[in-house]
């Protein structure tokens, strides 16, 4: 025995006092740590006033156990108590120290015993924690290795797709290229047209609008003539527009000459010519590009090509339309035919552009031309000769058949270029995504080390570079992406040739290739979401274009019939086969012809519209009390098929006359 009597034990108090609990709490531990005071086992030993010969081994033993803080503290208390009791017996500290044993060995034994003392649940949690930690470590190692592979991936940029886009026109002589003439003519006209619009036409329209609001009456004029490409004798803008054309007769002639050249000849480039002047960029600079670079590694991605020529092409069509309408009012049929012919030439040039947006601009230009033909015929039914009608019909049919389908090979180039710049190349069409892909596709993050964009913040950089390799973990192989993308374009193009009732389903099926991928698929094929063009809308526009063209050809045939027979036919069937190969079909009523009625005011040609029922040529917008729309097709085919939707608006699509029922003169 040590000499401590049992009597003393009665005086002992329970150690689990509030002070003891507080002493062991993590909060107290942290506070003590912050104040520089020793905590845990160190505190126990420091407060023990043991001689150094004993406090050192006790502390070392406790710390070497590498147990939890509370466990180490408990062991330290017990060792200290043991040493104190030994000293109380009068033993020399050095002798006591010897009995303590070698700290490393004792700590190992104590650790083993202390761990056994833990509950089964505790030990299971510890094992699970260790497993998780090991798993996490393995994951980190794997991710690190993968990240190294990801960042080591280098794309091989071998093909200059901008040069490929320019290849078809590179050998075309300058005198066969339409764009230089379009540009010079457009610039001459547009320079004064902008001044006219800003200084005269728009302020005048604003004043008229204010007057309209005050009178609260219908006002058919809601835009300037230059915006609407529509004008007629007595229009408020007439004299100003006539002055503009009189001043720039040469420019108009340039547009007509350009429209007869075989190719557009615009040279695509990704490099805008810098403008270093002050104020608004002069019109001469807006359409200038620097020549493309030959080295594909220096060349920007093809998807970055600039298309400053598309706006001027539409502008040229508007000028020609206005000029034709004024010439029609003047009875100048030769000029009308030449202007309409030039517009159809513009249509062919734009539609032959090798990408979807160019094609759609061509469709829009053709729409302006068709509207102008319709207006000329509606306003001056007797102006054009039978020969003029035939010439326009042949030219319109030729413009439509010159490029009967959308050309998407630039869209394919764009994807191929992105893949060659964002993915590695295994030489067999495959390859894995690299760090460059997201930057190319407009994702976040720096593409170059000196990038100083939104991720200039170092933490954002760190996060970006840490997370980016995950892209490589999930992104599909280069070949798989290209295959799916091309399948989508192929199916969509095939759908565009279907009849309208089948087309919508086919387009949706095509869209599913890139849209209905599920959560995992949409992540694996994320470049498709950024690159795939919206073919549904494009096909809808294309089909409307086809319908309007067919209707316009029918209207030209109706007037040719009227020239020959001094009356309009009782039905469209009478036009076949001499003037039309077939009666045009109603896109909203497959198998049925467009509706044709003849009144005292002349012929009317219409479709039953998206709701599918015949409203006797009453347009949807008229039935709803709205003014005439700028677009004939307020609702596309997708509102009609496969089933008419309950919210489809009642009414028909009137294709001729486009400005509403003709009023008696």
């Amino acid at each position: 025995m040590t000499g401590h009597d049992a009597d003393n034990r009665s005086a002992h108090t329970k150690a689990t006092t509030w002070q003891s609990i507080l002493d062991r709490s993590p909060v107290v531990h942290i506070v003590r740590g912050l104040t520089g005071k020793p905590t845990g086992a160190r505190r126990v030993v420091a407060e023990s006033d043991l001689p150094d010969a004993l406090s050192g081994p006790c502390l070392e033993t406790a710390l070497r156990t590498r147990l939890r803080r509370a466990e180490r503290e408990d062991i330290a208390r017990e060792l200290v108590a043991h040493a104190r009791d030994a000293l109380l017996t009068g033993r020399d500290p050095a002798d006591v120290a010897e009995t303590l044993g070698e700290p490393r060995t004792v700590a190992r034994l104590l650790r083993r015993g202390a761990i056994r003392k833990r509950s089964a649940f505790d030990r299971a949690c510890s094992a699970a924690g260790r497993s998780l930690a090991a798993g996490f470590l393995c994951g980190v190692l794997f991710y690190t290795a993968f990240a190294a592979r990801f960042y080591a991936g280098r794309p091989s940029v071998n093909v200059n797709y901008v040069a490929k886009l320019n290849a078809p026109t590179s050998n075309i002589p300058e005198q066969d290229r339409a764009w230089p003439l379009y540009k010079s003519g457009f610039i001459a006209l547009q320079r004064d047209a902008e001044t006219l619009a800003e200084d005269v036409l728009e302020p005048r329209l604003e004043a008229e609008d204010a007057e309209f609001e005050a009178r609260n009456q219908d006002n058919p004029r809601r835009w300037t003539a230059l915006d609407a490409a529509d004008i007629s004798r007595g229009h408020p803008d007439e004299s100003d527009v006539r002055d503009l054309f009189a001043k720039h007769a040469d420019a108009l002639e340039d547009l007509r000459r350009a429209s007869r050249r075989p190719v557009l000849g615009f040279v695509y480039s990704t490099r805008a010519r810098p403008y270093e002047g002050k104020g608004r960029m002069p019109i001469e600079h807006r359409y200038d590009l620097l020549p493309p670079l030959e080295d594909p590694t220096q060349q920007e991605p093809a998807i970055s090509i600039l298309l400053p020529h598309l706006g001027p092409l539409r502008g040229c069509a508007r000028f020609l339309a206005l000029h034709a309408l004024l010439a029609a009012d003047d009875g100048d049929r030769d000029t009308v035919v030449r202007d309409l012919d030039a517009m159809l030439g513009l249509t062919a040039h734009a539609r032959n552009e090798p990408f979807l947006i160019g094609y759609l601009v061509g469709v829009a230009i053709e729409g302006v031309a068709i509207d102008t033909v319709s207006r000329v015929l509606a306003r001056h039914p007797d102006l054009l000769s039978t020969e003029d009608l035939a010439t326009l019909a042949h030219r319109l049919a030729a413009a439509g058949s010159a490029n009967p389908s959308m050309s998407l090979h630039s869209e394919r180039y764009f994807m191929d270029d992105i893949l060659q710049r964002g993915f590695t190349d295994d030489g067999r069409g495959g390859g894995r995504v690299t760090q460059h892909a997201r930057h190319l596709l407009g994702g976040i993050g720096p593409g170059k080390p000196d990038h100083a964009g939104p991720l200039a913040d170092p933490m954002a950089h760190l996060l970006y570079y840490s997370v980016s390799p995950a892209t490589g973990l999930v992104t599909a192989d280069r070949r798989a992406i290209a295959r799916r993308y091309n399948a989508y374009l192929d199916r969509a193009l095939a759908a565009s040739h279907e009849s309208p009732d089948v087309m919508v389903d086919r387009v949706r099926e095509a869209g599913a290739i890139v849209d209905d991928l599920g959560r995992i698929g949409s992540v694996r094929y994320w470049p498709l979401g950024m690159m795939a063009p919206a073919m549904g809308r494009a096909i809808d526009v294309e089909f409307q274009s086809r319908t309007r063209r067919a209707a316009c050809l029918a209207v030209l045939a109706l007037h040719a019939y009227e020239r020959e027979h001094q009356r309009f036919p009782g039905s469209l069937d009478e036009l076949v086969p001499d003037l039309l190969p077939a009666v045009p079909e109603d896109p909203f009523n497959p198998g049925q012809p467009l509706r044709y009625t003849l009144t005292d005011h002349g012929p009317t040609l219409y479709s039953v519209g998206a709701d599918g029922d015949d409203d006797q040529a009453t347009p949807a917008h008229a039935k709803s009390g709205r003014r005439w729309p700028r677009r004939l097709f307020e609702q596309g085919l997708f509102h009609r098929y496969p089933e008419p939707k309950p919210n489809v608006r009642d009414g028909d699509v009137v294709l001729f006359p486009i400005d509403g029922p003709r009023r008696p003169n």
Partner: protein, 113 residues
């Protein structure tokens, strides 16, 4: 006299349980008691005692409790549990049988009482 570690591993826990069967004891008290009552034969240092106590505690044979004396001195007291008592009874029987067997062989001089 020093006992082989393997023999100590078998006898030590039984000796500790036996001491605790009489009364609660703290670590140093156990060291002293083992040394004094076995004439040093079963003397253990703290490096052996405390891991042994932790193992006994882990198996539920003993319980430990910190107490503070009026002097402010902390000690951790160990006491036998019911399970420990049953284990002690079992071990005691085993040791008796072993001792008798060894005596029968003439290895030990007489059976333990």
């Amino acid at each position: 006299m020093k006992i082989e570690r393997d023999m100590m591993r078998g006898a030590g826990p039984t000796a500790v349980l036996h001491l605790l069967a009489a009364k609660e004891m703290y670590g140093y008290e156990l060291v002293e008691a083992l040394s004094a009552r076995t004439q040093g034969v079963l003397a253990v240092g703290q490096s052996t005692l405390y891991p042994m106590l932790y193992n006994l505690e882990a198996k539920g044979f003993v319980e430990a409790e910190w107490r503070t004396a009026e002097s402010g001195r902390d000690r951790k007291y160990y006491k036998l549990t019911g399970k420990g008592r049953r284990r002690l009874d079992s071990d005691t029987e085993s040791w008796n049988a072993l001792t008798e067997a060894l005596a029968a062989l003439g290895i030990v001089r007489g059976a333990a009482s």
